[in-house]
Symmetry: C2
Subunit: 293 residues, 2 copies
Amino acid sequence: MHYADALEERIRKTSPICVGLDPALKNLPEGITKDAAGTLEFSKGIIDAVKGTAAAVKPQLAYFEVLGWQGMKVFFEVCEYAKKQELIVIADGKRNDIGPTCEAYADAYLGAGSPIDALTVSPYLGSDSIKPFIARCEKNDKGIYILVKTSNPSSGELQDLPTGDEAVHEHLAQLVESWAASGLGQATNLSFVGAVTGATYSEELKYLRTLMPHVPFLLPGYGAQGAGARDCVPGFLAEHSTSSSWPRGKTGALVVAARSIIFASSGSDWREAAGKAAEKMAEELKKELKIKN
Amino acid sequence: MHYADALEERIRKTSPICVGLDPALKNLPEGITKDAAGTLEFSKGIIDAVKGTAAAVKPQLAYFEVLGWQGMKVFFEVCEYAKKQELIVIADGKRNDIGPTCEAYADAYLGAGSPIDALTVSPYLGSDSIKPFIARCEKNDKGIYILVKTSNPSSGELQDLPTGDEAVHEHLAQLVESWAASGLGQATNLSFVGAVTGATYSEELKYLRTLMPHVPFLLPGYGAQGAGARDCVPGFLAEHSTSSSWPRGKTGALVVAARSIIFASSGSDWREAAGKAAEKMAEELKKELKIKN
């Protein structure tokens, strides 16, 4: 099934929450060893705790790469495990390169048999660094999320530079919408080309939504980075433009929270605490988005 | 020793050549199995073939990641092997993230015991995504190369956007020079903060050199991508500004070639062919740079 349609189906069963799996060793809770094995145990525990509530998980590659090849082995095991629990799996790698090298990244994460559904991608190299990913999305029903406006304090240094009447990231947003146009899902009319748009810049989010009407958004910044449920609302769409059978409040985006869920407790009750934190976040979001279920 | 000083010392013993290790399975030569073991054998063979001629090797992470965790195991083995042969090892990962995640990437590749000397880094997230790398460079005598102006055809889509009187990448170049200023090597007066500046845009290279006088350049685009030795010259500095004991022609940059060296022959003579291709490239470069040795 097309990535955007599969994502929407999953969101309808759960909530528009994406749990960031950022298993930094130093933050691992009581009873978990600070190594690759502990990282696996912790990640699986979080997946079990949130699988009834969250649509997706977003394992962050850096925390696995820092453990060497043993960490990468665990990374793929975590992705397989999450996929088996019917979660959408978004690998946060912010990969970027050109030509055959870009194809190698695309095959590494978005190959036909991969447990990963989507990959985050960095845009500085231009369309040469995007098109090989798009080819895999098309062929293998995968997705990408291109960094457009990120949630961090220094994101404006390049992203907000004025160019003509707009900011660089607004110019990029229009490129992303054009790349998205060829890959729309039948049910959702949304593309397999998504965008990362930080929830910490809520005003800007509203404008970016108008620039990218066919683009699924991934909204980081909720929780530890300071954004609340209300800040995320402008990143959503009123409803699917072509699927009148699916009107259920706002849609078209995933809200990411990592630390505020996965490290909700550092004690032995970390599983329960993560599950509760995810449920609380889902409730808050659904209320703001007027989703009833 | 400071990264820029160590790099210069190595260049003086060899040449300003960096051999890109892009071991795409489909291109591996006769007698090499198309798997992780073959990738290791091939990479070691190339390292042996060029170690007398090249200052550095640049293993491209994508070609190892595409082989899963077994590929990552081989990646670190390749880096260890290259380091033992006294080559400067530049991991081409174009990594980028913020906060603790960026620190995890920095620790993954630029940790104290890492065989990797430098990492390529993508700049779209701004200084939040650079400073954690700089901290590791300072502490562990490592380096980074920030993508400024890349060698690919679509590089201009974001990088050349006009902002005020300059292009986005020229604005970035000034940021890079400012990040570089605090980390200068005693012998070279060059920083551990480097820049990727494509040799395929030779005119622009000349201007970028004036914007970043303290920044080591990594120049991709030689050979298969179309740039010749003469196109690379504007990326070099006249001589070290503060080390009158080291005048030996132009310096301050590495020229990257991958396919034109590592796949110089697809037959059983691939080692010899790679060695000869590297020697020919070194000769051409040294002539253009007026380096005598």
